[in-house]
Symmetry: C2
Subunit: 413 residues, 2 copies
């Protein structure tokens, strides 16, 4: 067990800056983490991050606009990748080749080949690569996972999830705030961000661990949401007012698994709405729906069949008895309702112990591949696409993967 | 205008019996309708219906097990078809050929050819054929339709709907109660019942009336729900306990329209849950979700972005100002919360006036075709299927179809 763990940090847009403040600096203060290098393509962002680290820890990290310097010129044990989507996999590959653990923020892949290169590099170098999918550590997601693992849902037939988040502001202010989403919305049409909902679903369905995703279709709606928003909020003369957006307002992706389970994903980011990940798990004995926070148990709730609103909010009744061990005495802190701290802690624990990460390179490849396959399916008129088996058959025997574990002895009080 | 309108009635399973009691006998009593003939394949059912009509009206209708007798041996103005799904189209065709209006209960088609024959017969004979989709007349469906038509939702990008109804009892008791669903669940795998949700969505999207459905994919989950239910409720020795069901627990169908709108349909009938049609309309200015009965208005509700539960039930606030004219002074009666009465009244009005019906043969064909195309897509591994243009191009010019109208002067007090 390493007492000191050194992280090199890449990417200080909104996500990187928030994580530095909410999770990484606290870990540097309390948990023996050293932040030994920072990088951003924009010098001002890198410098600001280095300043904050120096201020908090007294030690100035290596500060650069070339991510390879963080990998090669520091003695980081792990590289944390928090930059624009298209650089996640190339940086992860370079880091693993240099013998570093990789902790990679979420995003979709641009090609299936990239996903294979990620897997191949991890297998060749022996270095773990964890996609830092915080939503796998969400309170409700873990409560339902616990209940499913204990058999309370029976057999699972179908799951749903979504990234339903009104990003009209974020996308349309992309140029000013140097946000990578803008170029994706003007050049691509796909489920560009599937892992927040897919990650927790894959853990429920034991994907890559006795089950696997086999094929998908994906279909896009028209792109009507951004234009009126831009005209109304930025004026008809704004340079985005006449841009034709490529990205459909709503993307539906339907995945079929080896065991027959259906997964339906929704990307829904350019129409007015409240936030939802639409987490839904449908079993033969019970079901959960995030949108109504309803937990329906067969034999108990059937009398409410025609009064569905009486099911709204019923999941709260199950919190006390069924909270996942990670959440039982956990007072959420550290960003996104506590999920960020949990996922980073799980990563830190693996780096410290030199073990495999609880979300591994096969998870990363198969979850990120959905974006590339969604783009292919839409381009081909919703033609079904085969989902590669990135484990090369290992999924058939791997039924012993670690649960989404975490140092239970170190939970904050 | 006919003072007296004569209906011949075919099919007295659960649906036919309920309609007789809740809608048809009241219409015979109060609205100048004569019920001149009844038919069911089962003699006991036909006789029971004839008894009830004789008791209520003093006149015994022709009573037969051969539907052709109701068509040929009575002077019915219209034939109401309420029997098993597979007989809807053949009976409708025979009725139109005999110069009768057709009012056809809902269900899906078994082949695209059947849908074409339905359209061709209506065109050749000049007889209207209305699919009696009661959910087009639902309170929330009509409120949202009204708001969409007044522009309050902006442009529509996506709609969703479902037939989400735990039918495990109905399917597994199919043999005893002679229910047609059982044979469908053991022999087919498709969205077997799409029109309850699709009808209202098509009215919102002006399908066949300036817009049309172009293509779909459909994907089925495994069929895990019925077996444990049967073993638990009927015993392991029951003859259905070892039946392998064909029909997946959850079917997702994703439709793309000419104008780019996305329609997502869910059939969800063999897992525990409360009822929902999942009616969802997503516009650039507002959205509605049935499952939370939430109506989100851009510029008004955005501050609730991270408190989605505060949106639950908000649609009720819009009822008073935005109720569809049909519902403004309507005290619901006559089955399914008032929808049954409204749809039958609309049909009766058209027959009485000798006009086209507000839901026409092109609606019937295109909505029912989704079942056949869903079956095809699932059989072909979710391959996209082309949705025929049953209007033969008329949809491009037909932007003047009657709204879902009804005698406003005859609303009950």
């Amino acid at each position: 067990m390493k007492e000191k763990v050194k992280f090199g940090l890449i990417g200080f847009g909104a996500r990187g800056s928030d994580l530095l403040r909410d999770v990484l600096l606290p870990m540097a203060k309390d948990e023996g983490v050293e932040l030994c290098g920072v990088c951003d393509l924009y010098e001002d962002r890198a410098a600001a991050a280095a300043d904050k680290i120096e201020e908090a820890t007294g030690v100035r990290p290596l500060c650069t606009t070339d991510y390879k310097e963080v990998i090669d010129k520091t003695d980081a044990d792990a590289i944390i990748i928090m930059c624009a989507w298209e650089y996640h996999i190339p940086i992860a590959i370079d880091a693993m080749k240099a013998g570093k653990y990789v902790g990679m923020e979420v995003g979709g892949a641009y090609s299936i080949d990239d996903c294979w290169r990620l897997v191949n590099t991890s297998e060749e170098t022996g270095m773990p690569c964890m996609i830092l999918e915080n939503c796998c550590y969400g309170n409700r997601e873990l409560m339902v996972l616990s209940m499913v693992k204990r058999g309370l849902f029976g057999e699972i037939s179908a799951c749903e999830g979504g990234y339903c988040h009104d990003l009209r502001h974020e996308v349309s202010y992309g140029e000013e705030n140097r946000h990578y989403r803008l170029r994706n919305y003007t050049h691509r049409n796909c489920d560009n961000y599937p892992t927040h909902e897919l990650g927790p679903i894959c853990k429920v369905l034991n994907i890559n661990n006795g089950n696997r995703m086999l094929s998908l279709t994906s279909t896009a709606s028209c792109a009507k949401g951004l234009h009126p928003y831009i005209v109304e909020n930025r004026g008809a003369d704004d340079k985005l007012a006449n841009v034709e957006f490529c990205q459909g307002d709503v993307i539906k992706t339907v995945i079929r698994c080896y065991n027959g389970e259906l997964i339906t994903l929704t990307l829904d980011t350019t129409l007015p709405r409240a936030y939802s990940r639409r987490f839904t798990v449908r079993g033969t004995k019970a079901s959960y729906w995030e949108d109504t926070d309803a937990l329906f148990v067969d034999g108990k709730d059937n009398e409410k069949e025609w009064r569905p609103h009486e099911m709204w909010g019923t999941a709260a009744q199950y919190e006390k008895e069924n909270a996942h061990p990670l959440w039982q005495n956990y007072e959420a802190h550290g960003g996104h309702g506590g999920m960020d701290y949990l996922v980073f802690s799980a990563f830190l624990e693996a780096v410290r112990a030199g073990t495999q990460t609880p979300i591994d390179v096969y998870d990363a490849a198969s979850w990120m591949a959905i974006t590339a396959l969604s783009e292919q399916s839409i381009a081909l008129g919703s033609a079904p696409q085969y989902i590669p088996d990135f484990t090369r058959g290992k999924w058939m025997n791997r039924t012993d993967m670690p649960d989404l574990r975490f140092r239970l002895d170190k939970l904050p009080e």
